[in-house]
Symmetry: C2
Subunit: 124 residues, 2 copies
């Protein structure tokens, strides 16, 4: 996956409206929803919804099919899977065993050598 693809996806989901739309479509699965349904479900005015649907579509996160005068939208789950793979690529330098330790280390309380800390001056 190219970087520009990933950032475009993240940018798409950085809006509350678009996040709601995407999650709603994920929930609906292969059935998808037409624009009007989405709009009434989430209470978003047509023009605004259209704007956000266009953004999501452009990012590839959702797809659209014309059904007569309706536009049916569906979530593109494979792209999300690809994105996750991109993010966790070469995770922990290829030592997945380390990954399990993350939860205890992200707060980084004791990860610093005790002696070094002890010898350092306190915040005067």
């Amino acid at each position: 996956m190219e970087k520009i693809t990933a950032t475009t996806i993240f940018e798409s989901l950085s809006s509350g409206v678009r996040l709601d739309v995407y999650r709603l479509l994920v929930k609906k699965g292969a059935e998808g929803m037409v624009a009007g349904e989405i709009g009434s479900s989430l209470d978003v005015p047509p023009a605004n919804l259209s704007f956000h649907l266009k953004t999501l579509t452009h990012a590839g996160l959702i797809t659209v099919c014309q059904e007569g005068r309706f536009q049916r939208y569906r979530a593109n789950l494979p792209l999300m899977m690809e994105l996750i793979g991109y993010l966790t690529e070469a995770c922990c330098n290829g030592n997945p065993a380390q990954c399990g330790d993350f939860s205890s280390q992200t707060l980084c309380p004791q990860s610093i050598d005790t002696q070094s800390v002890m010898n350092s001056k306190p915040t005067a």
Copy 2:
């Protein structure tokens, strides 16, 4: 997970610089990197890097520990796992069997037969 948390995370990763930083830290795993290392690895000026590190930290995607005059940053992988769970929550209305069909349906080229379209109502 709250919506605002998710959108903040996505917004954080919508910048190419921040995406690079995050992926670099994911690669480094529990070891992490100090700000200077990150900056020289990615060739980002200090002030700009600091701005992006702050954004990522605020979103909770990375954590920071002080080590003397160095700031060591680490990726917060558990949060990413939580985010993925939030996105795929109630996927396909709880029918995971449908999820496998996504790849063939997202492109929706012939998935909708012309005749069906002609006769079908939107909400099925």
